[in-house]
């Protein structure tokens, strides 16, 4: 009789206790113990739907947990702009979570940081952070003055840029070195304007070469290019984080060294830009690079990153591109 009773008890525990316990713990107890809201986000490759859900609404100041599960292939998750949150790789079936509080209302983006499919860059989701005091205040998308000015100036951000096509020229350009430029800088006449960040950001190295050549007739063009390389990289703002950002988000096409030979380079509509090529970079303006990063490139498969990075982070990226071009020792 005792054994029968014990068996029945066990049966009840198995058939009722186990389900009620586990489901209760997961869906009732756990959420009440942790006052924070938990968001489950499943990550599928974009052609299978991308992030699900692709939009989350939270209140500013509220503690939230975002739990990402990779459903098919290896993904990576980062959240931006300006949050410095990177969850790293998430293998199929793996789960990574982060608990955080958004202090400022606004729109944030969670995005994949691993080349997971040819449509990888589409893999994004939006976190809308509302102001709990002021529910109606729709977050305004601030126009970007840099891009506004380019448009006013009549610059075509999407114009096709090619470096000097001449083979011999390319070889000469390849030797451009900011390090050598730093040794030469004191022997060269440089107008103050050319050292100002606002001027540098709105002009091409080629333009400054014209100015410097006129003032420094005794220096060879190669020497002046080295000096220009120095000027363009002297006030660099990039950090180790910037390099990681570049490697995770840009290198799949543009290549880690900027050689435009990333894994996915062959799949894009247009050949990716080669930032490691000084000849190409000589005809580029930093603000155009900035605009391309933030706004994306029309018809080229260059995605927009304006929703992922802050303006400062974007400038740091642009600075890193100049280093790829002008500091050959970076890749050695």
């Amino acid at each position: 009789m005792f054994r029968e009773a014990a068996a029945r008890m066990t049966l009840a525990v198995i058939l009722l206790g186990l389900p009620v316990g586990i489901i209760g713990y997961r869906y009732v107890l756990e959420p009440t113990l942790n006052a924070e809201s938990i968001f489950e986000v499943q990550a599928y490759a974009p052609e299978r739907g991308g992030f699900s859900p692709a939009a989350i609404r939270v209140d500013a100041g509220e503690q939230v947990t975002l739990r990402f599960t990779s459903m098919d292939v290896t993904h990576g998750v980062a959240i931006g702009p300006g949050l410095d949150i990177n969850l790293g790789h998430i293998d199929p079936g793996e789960q990574r979570q982060i608990s955080l509080t958004f202090d400022e209302p606004g729109t944030y983006t969670y995005y994949c940081t691993t080349w997971c499919s040819p449509d990888h860059w589409r893999m994004r989701g939006i976190i809308e952070v509302r102001d709990p005091q002021n529910n109606n205040a729709a977050s305004q998308i601030q126009p970007d003055p840099v891009i506004e000015r380019l448009i006013e100036e009549g610059i075509d951000i999407d114009a096709v840029h090619t470096g000097s096509a001449d083979h011999e020229d390319n070889i000469l350009f390849e030797l451009t070195s900011a390090a050598r430029g730093s040794e030469l800088i004191d022997s060269v006449v440089v107008p103050d304007e050319l050292r100002e960040i606002d001027w540098l950001r709105t002009h091409t190295p080629a333009e400054s070469l014209t100015i410097l050549s006129a003032l420094n007739t005794s220096h060879s063009e190669a020497e002046l290019r080295d000096v220009i390389a120095y000027l363009w990289t002297a006030n660099s703002t990039y950090t180790a984080d910037t390099v990681q950002t570049y490697n995770q988000n840009c290198a799949a096409c543009h290549g880690e060294s900027g050689n435009a030979e990333g894994l996915a380079a062959a799949l894009t509509a247009e050949e990716p830009a080669a930032f490691g090529d000084p000849a190409y970079m000589f005809s580029m303006r930093p603000d155009v690079l900035y605009a391309k990063i933030r706004r994306g490139g029309m018809g080229t498969d260059m995605p927009n990153f304006g929703t992922l990075f802050t303006r400062e982070e974007t400038w740091a990226l642009v600075d890193y591109l100049w280093s790829l071009a002008f500091e050959p020792e970076l890749n050695e």
Binding site: R3, L18, G93, Q95
Partner: protein
């Protein structure tokens, strides 16, 4: 009759085993244990991560349980699994209104009669094919697996309300069918020590039940039991038999296969279905044709329909026809002394060791390769980020990858030899004379060799 010298009764050899198996608590205890795992499988399937390789349900059912069943339990212990399987448990306990003790004189059911036309394996054959058609989906999606298993257990309960005994196990369960078929290979059997004792025992307690236990839940009369296929090894007869006449014998492998008078078309078809499915699975999952895998995975309905139609044609028509052609050759060689139908059915039983070997070889591949997932899902059964036993980060390590091909070859060759030997025994029974029997078995042996080569090519090629 049976060659008694080659049978050893384990119950006399190991009295403690006999005590264990006679105890009314042992079987329900095991069933509660498996039911616990089963419930966890359903819960993880329904609520856990949809990623198969991280889900306890998928890993424990389709790798751990399947591997244990087909590689260990069926070949060596026959239907032992059926005696501890959780699926019929709730229904059985409901009929008995008790889990352990025997209290009621009769089972509580609506006492409906199971239709005569269904007292065979056909339902199980079609049930298995149904599951097989969707298997790629079932094997990878925890939710689908969970609903399927849940439907099995519910069907078990529903049937036990209407019909007495384990009707679900014996006539419906798609797994039970092939376990039964292949259990005939196993070296373990429940039999009576002396059939003559049964003949004279008028009350036949093993059929009617008594205060120590129920009448055979599998609707078998142990006194005439000569094949494993229908006996669920529940040991109820061991508890009821007042004459101490029940034995649990060790015996040579495959003894049941040559009992010709019991050979039936539904069982023959089970053998075709199982062998052909092993072949199809190997082709789909191991073969170099990704398209085929996608079609099986239901990427598009039209593709899947084509796949399903070819699958069924292959299994139900093509394999039996080709086999039939070889049987016809045997039939001509024996100068048509027996009906062709009988020759065909008899020889189909040679596919049993072969089919089992093919399944073992096929399963060895993915069980050894994916077995290490078991450790990590044990710690995080739902994929919710738990780490119960600190084994979540155990990396995926294929076990003995260099050995797999050797093991597979060994198993396939053993299966082939065993099948050829079975073929000879069957032919000998048909022809009596060694020379004639040898000639008659030859076409069958050629068929077996061709099938083995096909498997070898798939696994080693």
């Amino acid at each position: 009759m049976l060659d008694q010298k080659r049978h050893v009764d384990l119950l006399t050899t190991f009295p403690s085993l006999k005590r264990l198996l006679r105890s009314r608590s042992f079987q329900p205890g095991m069933m509660l244990l498996t039911l616990f795992v089963f419930t966890l499988v359903i819960l993880t399937g329904l609520f856990g991560t949809p990623v198969g390789s991280r889900n306890f349900g998928i890993i424990f059912v389709w790798i751990v349980w399947w591997g244990l069943l087909i590689i260990m339990l069926v070949p060596f212990l026959g239907r032992f699994w059926c005696s501890i399987c959780p699926i019929p448990a709730p229904g059985e306990w409901l009929q008995r209104r008790n889990i352990i003790t025997k209290r009621l004189p009769k089972l509580r059911t609506l006492n409906k009669r199971w239709p005569r036309q269904l007292k065979n394996m056909w339902l199980q054959n079609f049930g298995f094919l149904g599951v097989a058609l969707f298997s790629v989906i079932i094997l990878t999606r925890p939710q689908v697996s969970a609903w399927l298993l849940l439907s099995f257990i519910l069907l078990g309960v529903v049937l036990s309300v209407f019909y007495k005994n384990r009707v679900f196990c014996r006539y419906v369960c798609p797994v039970g069918g092939f376990i039964g078929l292949y259990s005939m290979v196993s070296p373990l059997e429940v039999r009576v020590n002396d059939p003559n004792v049964c003949l004279t025992h008028t009350s036949k307690d093993c059929v009617t039940g008594n205060e120590y236990g129920y009448g055979c839940p599998w609707m078998v009369y142990p006194g005439k039991l000569n094949r494993n296929i229908d006996c669920g090894m529940c040991m109820e007869c061991l508890k009821t038999c007042p004459k101490n006449n029940i034995a649990l014998n060790m015996r040579p492998f495959g003894t049941d296969l040559t009992i010709q008078k019991e050979h039936r078309l539904d069982e023959a078809y089970k053998a075709f279905i199982m062998l052909a499915c092993a072949l199809v699975y190997s082709v789909v999952l191991l073969g170099p044709w990704g398209e085929l895998k996608n079609a099986a995975n239901m990427q598009s309905i039209p593709h899947w329909l084509v796949y399903a139609t070819s699958f069924l044609t292959f299994v139900l028509v093509l394999v039996p026809s080709v086999f039939g052609a070889f049987s016809a050759a045997s039939w001509l060689l024996m100068k048509r002394t027996l009906p062709l139908r009988q020759v065909f059915i008899d020889f189909a039983y040679t596919l049993v060791p072969m089919g089992l070997a093919a399944w073992v070889a096929f399963s060895l591949g993915f069980v050894l390769v994916n077995g290490s997932y078991a450790l990590s899902v044990l710690s995080d059964p739902f994929g919710w980020g738990w780490n119960l036993f600190n084994t979540v980060d155990v990396p995926w390590v294929p076990a003995a990858p260099q050995l797999i091909a050797f093991l597979q070859t060994g198993v396939l060759v053993a299966g082939l030899l065993f099948s050829v030997q079975t073929g000879y025994k069957i032919a000998r029974e048909q022809m009596k004379l060694h020379r004639k029997a040898f000639a008659v078995m030859l076409p069958n042996s050629v068929f077996l060799i061709l099938v083995t080569l096909a498997f070898m090519w798939l696994y080693l090629g």
